[in-house]
């Protein structure tokens, strides 16, 4: 810090400045430092959050604490990328869970489709891991931690043709390449004048950490497609699971007001009961815990036990309930002169297929490849020539995934009878066609 303070009025020069120390920003820095071609570049990452302080010793401090609510599903592709850049070995593995099956079922008709990865090379569909676990692993790889500057970006402007970032501690940094890994509201994207396309789903994702009645012997990720949005029930170790329930904003608000026992009952209802029951339950007073539990218990008792569904929830971690708005966004460009966008800054998707983080990992891999090529050819790393291969590799693939996610989402957000019947038929046929399903799993990776 002292070193910077002396330089208050002259900008620090960096080859690459990354704004945002989320999973995308940190893996970019780690990957650059891991590559023989780009290792020599002077790289820094700024983040407004105290990430080093919070996550530097996370592994030692979090042996037995509750799982946090921001859990993501990383595909084997992302895992092998993290392995390649040396970060995967720093992950706290006891806090991750690799699942080998995925079951998606229709909330109206009950029709289901199952994917498994028993024949694939890794034998896993994806691995559930806390956001913080990914971040801490990256921070503790190589000298990533030393590149982090904790400060809020206040202003970005161009000085002598270079993007220059003014931080809230007075420091200014100019960079040959400014990377926006700064999340959905990306200040870097705004600076570059890059517009985005997309829309809000007018849905919120409600997340929570849940304790189950018993440990499931299967490792399966479940999704129930309700007309209000998908309810995802994702496995964690030790009879724990994480919830991502996307629903109307008012319902998300309502769920957040519940007492923990009522929330637990509602999750069990969301997994098993009819939409008409859920509609009715949402019409009750959220503070009337007894009535909610009474109604849910009665309806659950009318059902036959179905052990192909997720294990029932016993309790939730009270402070783990949170919600966030769901959007579909794609930046019109991933690059402009001396600027590149990665991760949520470049695109945001519905968490339907858990691609939020993985798309960011693919961006990073593509950007690093472009920079390696630029360095080996002696190009200026901030020039459009150098950056151009990055969007060529990543943009279309992301667009495709965003499109698939969006159509899936729309297909399931109705309870209109003919559509329910058609999609049910489609799913029943698809479920029988192993080779098509395998292709789909590969595509998502």
């Amino acid at each position: 810090m002292l070193r910077f303070r002396r330089l208050v009025h002259t900008a620090i020069k960096k080859d690459i400045l990354v704004v945002g120390g989320g999973p995308a920003g940190l893996s970019l820095v780690t990957a650059l430092k891991n590559s023989a071609l780009t290792r020599h570049l002077d790289v820094a990452v700024v983040d407004g959050q105290p990430i080093v302080e919070r996550l530097g010793n996370w592994a030692a401090n979090n042996k037995t604490t509750e799982f946090e609510n921001r859990v993501i599903s990383v595909t084997p592709g992302s895992v092998s990328f993290l392995e390649k850049i040396g970060a995967w070995e720093n992950v706290v593995h006891e806090r991750t869970l690799a699942y080998d099956e995925m079951m998606i079922w229709d909330g109206e008709s009950g029709a289901r489709i199952e994917f498994d990865a028993f024949d694939s090379a890794t034998g896993t569909v994806a691995t559930m891991i806390e956001n913080s676990n990914v971040q801490q692993a990256l921070l503790n790889t190589g000298n990533t931690r030393d590149t982090v500057i904790q400060a809020q970006v206040e202003k970005i402007h161009t000085v002598n043709g270079l993007p220059t970032v003014k931080l809230n501690n007075g420091i200014e940094i100019e960079a040959r390449l400014l990377v926006g890994a700064d999340g959905q509201n990306s200040p870097v994207r705004q600076f570059a004048g890059i517009t985005t396309e997309g829309w809000d789903y007018s849905r919120h994702g409600v997340v929570a950490t849940m304790h189950l009645e018993f440990d499931d012997f299967k490792q399966t990720a479940y999704q129930r497609m309700l007309k209000t949005g998908p309810l995802a029930f994702l496995p964690l170790p030790n009879a724990t699971a994480t919830l991502v329930w996307s629903t109307y904003p008012e319902r998300a608000q309502w769920l957040k007001q519940l007492e923990p026992q009522a929330f637990t009952a509602m999750v069990n209802a969301g997994v098993r009961l009819d939409m008409a029951d859920l509609d009715y339950l949402h019409s009750l007073d959220p503070k009337n815990t007894d009535e909610i539990i009474y109604e849910v218990t009665w309806r659950l008792n009318t059902l036959d036990e179905d052990d192909t569904l997720p294990t029932r929830v016993e309790s939730i971690v009270p402070k783990s309930v949170a919600s966030f708005p769901l959007k579909l966004r794609q930046a019109d460009e991933y690059i402009s002169e001396r600027v590149a966008l990665v991760g949520d800054a470049a695109h945001a998707t519905h968490p339907l297929t858990g691609q939020g983080l993985n798309m960011g990992q693919r961006d990073v891999a593509a950007l690093v490849a472009a920079l390696e090529l630029a360095v080996s050819r002696g190009l200026d790393i901030g020039s459009l020539d150098a950056l151009e291969p990055y969007p060529r590799r990543a943009y279309l693939q992301n667009q495709l995934l965003l499109g698939v996610n969006d159509s899936l989402y729309k297909l399931y957000s109705t309870d209109c009878e003919p559509i329910v019947r058609l999609r049910t038929l489609g799913v029943q046929v698809l479920n029988k066609l192993g080779f098509v399903k395998n292709k789909l799993v590969e595509m998502a990776d």
Partner: protein, 258 residues
């Protein structure tokens, strides 16, 4: 696997067979209540019974009914007590109607072919409440009144069987009755059926002491012109009236003595 007393589980083939045969048979002989009831069950699955169940689950009274699953019989309803109630009450109107039409609440066939116990109850309940629909609409059990009630039920509940009956039966009636149906009773039935609250979500047993007109108002039903009076003044007696037949069943689409 039997899921409730009286349940007859069927495989897909049996289901299809029963669907086709009961449909044809019920059309040929609409007086065979068992056939009509079976065809009713076959056509209400899987979608319509499920939709009605959803409607009941969406309503506090509907849920109470599904929870308690009350049955309507002459044992569960104390008919003598109903006769003692003031004449403006629902209970008294209902029993007056039973007495006048010479029917009893005990003639409902049990549901057999619907697998889901809740859905089976929904259809059972619908059958057992049929006389209340007659009473609340003030329509007689003669064919003409039956057609109007069926249409009213169809508009209100959307059970396919009732709709089929309501559109196929009028053509078996004499012209003058057809005219009365098409001019007065069917429009009344469609309008009131749509406008009224879902009648499956009425706990009739708990409304017996209520003023019937007040209840009609609450449910959004207005009384049609008195069919009996009209029939009398017009002195229109159809030749095909079947006299002195003991009504054996649930949803007869046939004329009854009076």
């Amino acid at each position: 696997m039997q899921r409730y007393p009286g349940h007859v589980p069927l495989n897909t083939f049996q289901r299809l067979f029963l669907f086709a045969s009961s449909g044809i048979a019920a059309y040929i002989s609409p007086r065979r209540a068992d056939l009509v009831a079976t065809f009713g069950e076959m056509t209400s699955q899987p979608f319509f019974a499920r939709r009605l169940k959803k409607q009941m689950l969406s309503d506090p009274v509907g849920r109470e009914l599904l929870r308690e699953k009350p049955r309507i019989t002459s044992k569960t309803l104390n008919l003598d007590y109903l006769r003692s109630l003031p004449s403006n009450t629902l209970g008294n109107e209902y029993v007056q109607w039973l007495d006048k039409e010479n029917v009893s609440p005990d003639t409902r066939l049990p549901v057999r072919f619907i697998d889901d116990p809740d859905e089976a109850y929904v259809i059972q309940r619908y059958r057992e409440c049929h006389d209340f629909y007659h009473a609340i609409a003030g329509l007689p059990v003669v064919m003409e009144g039956e057609v109007a009630v069926k249409m009213f039920e169809f508009a209100n509940l959307g059970i396919p069987m009732t709709g089929l009956a309501a559109i196929s039966e009028p053509f078996k009636l004499p012209k003058s009755m057809q005219k009365r149906l098409f001019d007065i009773y069917l429009p009344w039935a469609v309008y009131n059926g749509f406008k009224a609250k879902c009648l499956l979500n009425v706990y009739w047993e708990k409304e017996l002491e209520r003023d019937a007109n007040e209840l009609r108002k609450e449910l959004g039903i207005s009384l049609p012109p008195d069919m009996r009076a009209m029939r009398a003044t017009r002195a229109m007696r159809p030749k095909r009236v079947v006299r002195n037949v003991i009504r054996p069943d649930s949803d007869p689409i046939y004329e009854k003595s009076n």
